[in-house]
């Protein structure tokens, strides 16, 4: 927290399956960043679920970080809105659905983004691909600046 502004980076995926761990790896880098970790909270899990609506309700800025298959850039930061849609399968929720639950249950709507990082391989037990690691480096550099700028805007009274 900085000047009462709370920021969360939430990584999700399965770090046991190669590039699927990109989101969690990004969150861990933030956690291990001496500077950022002083005012950015980090959480991570295999996947998003309903209780995350409560978690994000306590923040002003939330960055969901996940591996992505279908982007043509190394990473992409997209602002998201609550979405009242749900998929067939059951054991996962989208970040947009979590945001909708947060709004409906807790009357909160943190400014939220998805940081999608391009992954390539998903085999069990193999290390992250070198291309994915490069994308992670770029995403981390970009996100660090993005968060710092966000706090700077808040401190200047222009944010949120």
């Amino acid at each position: 927290m900085l000047n009462n502004v709370k920021c969360l980076v939430y990584g999700y995926g399965n770090p046991g399956r190669q590039d699927d761990g990109l989101g969690i790896e990004l969150a861990l880098r933030i956690e291990n960043d001496e500077h950022l970790s002083k005012y950015v909270d980090v959480d991570y899990n295999y996947q998003l679920n309903i209780e995350d609506a409560l978690t994000i309700s306590e923040y002003d800025l939330v960055i969901f970080a996940d591996a992505a298959l279908n982007i043509d850039k190394p990473y992409e930061l997209t602002k998201i809105q609550p979405a009242h849609t749900i998929t067939f399968t059951t054991h996962e929720l989208s970040a947009e659905s979590i945001l909708a639950l947060c709004q409906d249950l807790y009357n909160k709507k943190p400014e939220s983004y998805i940081m999608a990082i391009r992954g390539y391989e998903w085999e069990m037990g193999l290390p992250m691909t070198s291309k994915a690691k490069c994308n992670l480096d770029d995403a981390y550099t970009f996100l660090t600046k993005f968060i710092e700028n966000y706090f700077a805007r808040c401190m200047a009274g222009k944010g949120i």
């Binding site: 999700y12 995926g13 399965n14 770090p15 046991g16 399956r17 699927d20 969690i24 991570y44 899990n45 295999y46 996947q47 679920n49 309903i50 209780e51 609506a53 409560l54 996940d66 591996a67 992505a68 298959l69 279908n70 982007i71 009242h84 849609t85 749900i86 998929t87 067939f88 399968t89 059951t90 054991h91 996962e92 929720l93 659905s97 909708a100 639950l101 409906d104 249950l105 998805i114 999608a116 992954g119 998903w122 085999e123 069990m124 037990g125």
Partner: protein, 482 residues
């Protein structure tokens, strides 16, 4: 023109499933199949790894029930390190039980509030746009908040017992690596409302009542939908009590006759076989004594309440008596009663968590037992979705040279196929048009078994659901995506 309907949710890189219903030109059902692309690479992946890594490694298999895999592998490794399934210290066994009942509690709560309650509260035929957990949140916010808090409570139990959210390390061969501090215990026992075990028990009881109320008003649907006779298999405690962590293997037939009489699961290969069918990647387990045709069985909450003689916690036992009385003490073969059974287990899990939290053994400092190593071990556990088998053999270098896993969803392969076929024959066959409601009925039948379709990986950009109609020549005549 003959048609084939395919429902294919492809949400993950691996572990997806699809339903295929083959229709003749009059739309009568010719055949139906439920396919799950099961990931079998794990058994090769662990080969060559040191045995003590298995309880952590196996959590890579599944992001949905990693705790069940963690504990099943740890139980197998208990055997390998010579401690055996009954040789853990009281602190170790009770910490593992607490972890496991925390997992059951959060998983059953999620299933009910997230997956089942939309069908019950809005109706199976309701608009899919509202028939989901967000619809519940908008129309029944108090209920939705309960679901969120129950999930969170169970997740917190897992976090303090497993050590962390991802790739927990709580269970190790022969024991555990931490006990429960008094401060951690008191957060669950005396936490501010609603985050305490008393409130969780109260809400679990309310969830059972919610289902019973729905059942009273919708008896025909709940009792007849996808109902069919089957065998049932689960662990039970040696005295016949429901036990989700450890016990002996029992199976009963559709009339309640014991067909597997409390056997040691170390010998499971004597009793359970796995059939391969050409059209499915997933095997079909069966009881060898009955053969491939008749030996298939159900696992999971319904099976567990059918095999157990009683439940060793008072509130759940009272519900169990009502559940058993409904079928005059005979096994319950109604698929939709799986939800009733699951909620009774939700209540039982909450009561077990309370019992364990009040047990001073959790603060004990004897965490690991030692024994003489052997080469092979089997670990069984009752995972939320049913019996989970882990079997390992190691070599002289302490490396795993063989692993065999039978997961709950595999055990329920044939019953899920039967459930889908029931819907196809009873609700789709002969109809001129395939409606959204009919397709949802297929999903409702599958959902009762809560299969683990979406194991392991998660990445943005995967298609959630595809319905494809294909004619006899293989041409796509219609396609829907949800």
């Amino acid at each position: 023109m003959a048609r084939k309907i395919t429902i294919e949710p492809v949400t993950r890189v691996e572990g997806h499933g699809k339903v295929t219903i083959q229709l003749d030109p009059q739309n009568n059902v010719l055949d139906s199949r439920f396919h799950i692309v099961e990931f079998r690479g794990f058994e090769r992946f662990v080969q060559g790894r040191p045995y003590w890594e298995a309880p952590v490694l196996v959590q890579r298999l599944c992001g949905i029930c990693p705790v069940s895999h963690h504990l099943a592998a740890a139980k197998a490794m208990d055997v390998i390190v010579g401690v055996g399934p009954d040789g853990l210290t009281p602190t170790a066994e009770k910490m593992r039980r607490l972890m496991h009942y925390g997992q059951m509690f959060q998983s059953h709560a999620l299933h009910f509030f997230h997956l089942v309650s939309p069908d019950l509260l809005f109706g199976v035929d309701a608009d899919p746009a509202i028939r989901n957990v967000i619809g519940v949140a908008m129309k029944f916010p108090d209920l939705a908040v309960q679901g969120v808090m129950m999930r969170k409570f169970g997740q917190e139990i897992i976090r303090v017992t497993a050590g962390k959210k991802i790739h927990g390390t709580g269970a190790i061969p022969g024991g555990i690596n931490k006990n429960l501090s008094v401060q951690e215990r008191d957060e669950f026992l005396k936490g501010a409302d609603p985050m305490n075990i008393k409130k969780m028990i109260e809400w679990a009881q309310a969830a059972v009542n919610l289902f019973k109320d729905y059942h009273k008003k919708n008896k025909d649907f709940i009792d007849s939908f996808a109902a069919f006779p089957s065998n049932h298999l689960s662990l039970v405690r040696k005295d016949g009590a429901l036990d989700l962590y450890h016990g002996v293997l029992r199976a009963v037939d559709a009339d309640g006759k014991k067909i597997l009489n409390d056997v040691d699961y170390q010998d499971y290969l004597k009793y359970v076989g796995e059939e391969v069918r050409s059209w499915s990647y997933m095997k079909f387990p069966y009881l060898k004594s009955l053969g491939k045709k008749d030996g298939w069985y159900r696992v999971g909450p319904l099976a567990r309440l059918n095999t157990a003689d009683f439940i060793p916690t008072p509130l759940a036992q009272k519900e169990f008596e009502e559940f058993k009385a409904y079928t005059n003490g005979k096994p319950n073969n109604m698929s939709m009663h799986m939800h009733w059974a699951r909620l009774i287990e939700l209540l039982h899990s909450a009561e077990m968590i309370e019992q364990l939290l009040n047990d001073p053994d959790l603060q004990g400092d004897k965490l690991v037992a030692k024994g003489t190593k052997v080469k092979e071990g089997v670990g069984l556990i009752e995972a939320p979705r049913g019996t989970l088998f882990h079997h390992y053999r190691i070599n002289d270098n302490d490396q795993i040279e063989m692993a065999n896993l039978i997961v709950s969803t595999t055990n329920n392969n044939e019953p899920m196929n039967r459930a889908v076929n029931w819907v196809a024959v009873n609700q789709i066959s002969g109809k001129k048009e395939i409606t959204e409601g009919m397709l949802n009925a297929v999903e409702v039948a599958i959902r009762a078994y809560d299969p683990c379709l979406s194991c392991a990986t998660h990445a943005i950009g995967k298609m959630p659901l595809e319905v494809t109609l294909v004619d006899a020549e293989g041409n796509v005549v219609d396609q829907k995506r949800k």
